[in-house]
């Protein structure tokens, strides 16, 4: 169940924000789905995904797609600002640990572009791991 482990959430920062409200709604939706189950396929898409890949996709589209693109191919609408361009994540051969590190600490921390910001103040630990799970699922083998 997607949000069963509250102790996995090691969110940094004390801000009360739209992001926090968004996460609360996701937890509520997930709990409702778990109790009632989906009546139709449309219900599934309308509620919180129960798997890390699905949740990670949502986080990716909300925060990452602006640079990395909705298809994670590095062609987001902001990509034109950057040289080097944002990474094509479908072609990434990096390990999950590396991906988690660069997401949390940013590009400079791993010797890459400083335009990749550090997300650890904005994304919870669970959200970061979900994004990594999503990125693993989209790699073109």
């Amino acid at each position: 169940m997607c949000t069963a482990s509250g102790n996995e959430d090691d969110h940094i920062g004390n801000e009360v924000s739209a992001g926090a409200a968004y996460r609360s709604l996701r937890i509520l939706a997930a709990a409702t789905w778990a109790l009632t189950g989906p009546a139709t396929a449309a219900d599934l898409t309308a509620t919180e995904p129960s798997d890390a890949t699905g949740r990670g996709s949502n986080v990716f589209q909300h925060y990452c797609a602006i640079c990395h693109g909705t298809s994670a191919d590095g062609d987001g609408r902001a990509a034109k600002l950057y040289d080097p361009r944002p990474a094509n994540l479908k072609a990434s051969r990096a390990t999950d640990a590396y991906k988690e590190l660069i997401i949390r600490r940013g590009g400079l921390h791993v010797g890459r572009s400083g335009f990749m910001p550090a997300w650890e103040q904005e994304l919870t630990g669970m959200e970061t791991r979900d994004v990594v799970a999503y990125l693993r699922s989209i790699v073109v083998k």
């Binding site: 925060y63 609408r77 902001a78 600002l81 940013g106 910001p117 997300w119 103040q121």
Partner: protein, 104 residues
Amino acid sequence: MIKHLAVVLAIACSGIAECAEFEVGQVNKEFTVTELKVKVGDTVSFKNNDPFAHNIFSLSDAKSFDLGAYQFGQMRKVVFDNAGTVEVECALHPGMKMTISVTK
């Protein structure tokens, strides 16, 4: 919430015309002003007043920029050197948006 007013500081530019400088804060994942009108040559200072980083950028034709991520208390300045409408966003907080109208 009482919005902070943009602070206008009139300074003398190196040219003949006088240029102004405006300050726009980032507070609670929002810009302290959502619409700002400036003249060509004016400067806008983006100051982070939140306890976490912001990454302000724009993709607008009139002025595109990326200020990079910066922390509480830090400020980044942008000179608006072309007329037009500039849509300003934050890469870390997709809901943060403001518009700067630049006129001659």
